[in-house]
């Protein structure tokens, strides 16, 4: 039994770590195809990561320890979250008991804090610009994240994400309950914001659109590689939570060795999410920066209002 759990743990962890860049590559490639461009290879994120690994690390003058070690801390935090939530296998693995849903949300907040602290610690104006922008918006995004998980806890009477996944997969009607539908919409809006997708943030280094990219502006070499890898992991984790807990909780196997089927299942689910994201990214123009608060206020409204309504109705 212990060996099975160990195999499940390793499968889940290495799937997240190794496959997360691939999904980012597929999004970039598919987006280019829709825009009638050839586009980068789907393996481009891997090439970039390895290229950065070989490059020299340049540390800005006056930067502190947080700047230097933040990428490793972020990688560690996302590694832990990867074992807490059911993002590949719908059965608890090692380290799952270290936090519940709210603990996961707090770990996301911790990662955001570390990233912002590191951006300020670099003593660069550009990174400070990204950090200040992130701070202006994160107060609403973090609130949404927490209330969305409240909604999930309310539906299933538990704050264990694995039980939530199993409950929603077996109780079909709960998937069309008011709080679940609007929590799903709110979480999807949050997913677009947190992963820097259009219409909120244009990827690249255009100053007017920079938030996430702005914060990692001063990183280079190995540190940049690890920082980017953490970003891919964050995207995968948020996307997989959206798919397995909110949008499509069905289709995952926990038996041994049936759980190996979860890998192609997750791949297919992710392809569906990628198509939705690409449609949104190629349909909407970028929002003006100060409009992002309006967008996040809307997602927060969705998450909390219908949560309160559900309590009143119940």
């Amino acid at each position: 039994m212990l060996v099975y759990t160990l195999i499940r743990t390793l499968t889940q962890y290495f799937f997240v770590v190794l496959m997360a860049p691939l999904f980012a590559g597929i999004i970039a490639n598919l987006k280019a195809k829709v825009e009638s461009r050839k586009g980068p290879s789907i393996f481009q994120p891997y090439y970039d990561l390895f290229k950065y690994m070989r490059k020299q690390v340049l540390i800005p003058d006056g930067s502190g320890l947080i700047f230097k070690y933040a990428p490793f801390i972020l990688f560690g935090i996302y590694s832990l979250i990867a074992l807490i939530v059911p993002i590949v296998i719908p059965e608890p693995v090692f380290f799952t008991a270290s936090a519940d849903f709210l603990g996961g949300a707090i770990l996301f907040s911790l990662a955001a804090f570390v990233k912002i602290a590191a951006a300020f610690d670099s003593r660069s104006n550009f990174t400070a610009l990204g950090a200040v922008r992130a701070l202006s918006f994160n107060f609403l995004s973090e609130a949404t994240l927490i209330t969305v998980f409240f909604a999930v806890s309310l539906i299933t009477d538990t704050n264990n994400p694995y039980i939530t996944n199993s409950f929603l997969a077996t109780h079909y009607l709960q998937n069309i309950s008011l709080e679940h539908i609007f929590a799903t919409i709110a979480f999807f809006m949050l997913f677009l914001y947190e992963t820097g997708k259009l219409p909120l943030e244009s990827s690249g280094l255009a100053e007017l659109g920079m938030i996430e990219e702005g914060m990692s502006y001063e990183y280079s070499g190995k540190l940049l590689s690890i920082s980017k890898w953490s970003g891919y992991m964050k995207q995968y984790i948020l996307g997989a939570i959206f798919l397995n807990v909110f949008f499509i909780p069905w289709g995952l196997q926990s038996s041994f060795p049936g759980f190996l089927l979860d890998i192609p299942v997750m791949f297919l689910k992710w392809l569906l999410l990628i198509v939705i994201v690409v449609v949104i990214e190629t349909t909407f123009a970028k929002m003006r920066l100060f409009r992002i608060q309006d967008y996040l206020a809307t997602s927060f409204t969705f998450s909390i209002l219908f949560l309160i309504f559900s309590v009143v109705i119940a």
Binding site: L173, I176, S177, L178, F182, R291, D294, A297, L305, A314
Partner: protein, 214 residues
């Protein structure tokens, strides 16, 4: 098959969302369209309930809402929005703070109504206890907040219509359908819109100090 209460709750939730949509708009034209969407959603609720309850009254009610609120009032308001080439909008509309204050206003308002009134009044709705009335109440407070938060006469008229929409929704959820109340609300709103359309020409904006002058 989806149970009727799930379906009605979801559609009614979209009525509340349309209220937030109206609240977040700067352009008057978009607010009028938001009002049209809201009225159409309420008509849809009436039709869905008519289908489940096999009630002719609710079908008539739905048709009346769609025609009078969806079409006629929108037509009157649309006619009064100045010229096609000039876009009438309100300045200083901070959507994020408006949404959050509106949210707080709704939650506090509903909490007070439920804890002070509905716990004592024995209201029977089509879905048992008074829980579904949370949707018309949210619309009511949204209309109230729209009137309070905007200066343009158009926005204030739309806020009033939103309040009337909430009364209609309230009436639909109650058992039995008080159609006479509905008819009087229609006439009330219609008359108000006709009078207001004259008022809009005379006075487009309201400022707090002007209200205090004799």
């Amino acid at each position: 098959m989806i149970p009727v209460d799930y379906a009605i709750f979801l559609i009614a939730a979209f009525a509340t969302i349309s209220g937030f949509y109206i609240q977040g708009q700067e352009y008057i034209g978009s607010m009028v369209n938001g009002q049209l969407i809201q009225s159409s959603i309420i008509a849809l609720i009436s039709f869905v309930l008519a289908y489940y309850e096999h009630s002719l009254d609710l079908v008539i009610l739905g048709v009346l809402i769609a025609f009078l609120r969806g079409f006629l009032i929108t037509y009157f308001l649309d006619k009064r929005v100045p010229g096609r080439m000039t876009y009438v909008y309100e300045t200083n509309v901070n959507v994020a703070s408006l949404l959050l204050i509106d949210l707080a206003f709704i939650v506090v308002g509903i909490f007070i109504i439920y804890s002070l009134v509905f716990t004592r009044a024995d209201l029977i709705t089509k879905f048992g206890p008074s829980s579904i009335l949370v949707f018309p109440l949210s619309l009511f407070f949204q209309g109230l907040f729209l009137i309070g938060s905007r200066r343009s006469t158009f926005s204030q008229i739309i806020g009033y219509i939103e309040e009337e929409n909430s009364l209609v929704l309230f009436a639909i959820f109650l058992v039995p359908v008080p159609i006479i109340i509905e008819a009087s609300v229609f006439l009330d709103v219609l008359a108000l819109v006709v009078i207001s359309s004259i008022l809009v020409i005379e006075k487009f904006r309201h400022f707090p100090m002007e209200e205090l002058r004799g």
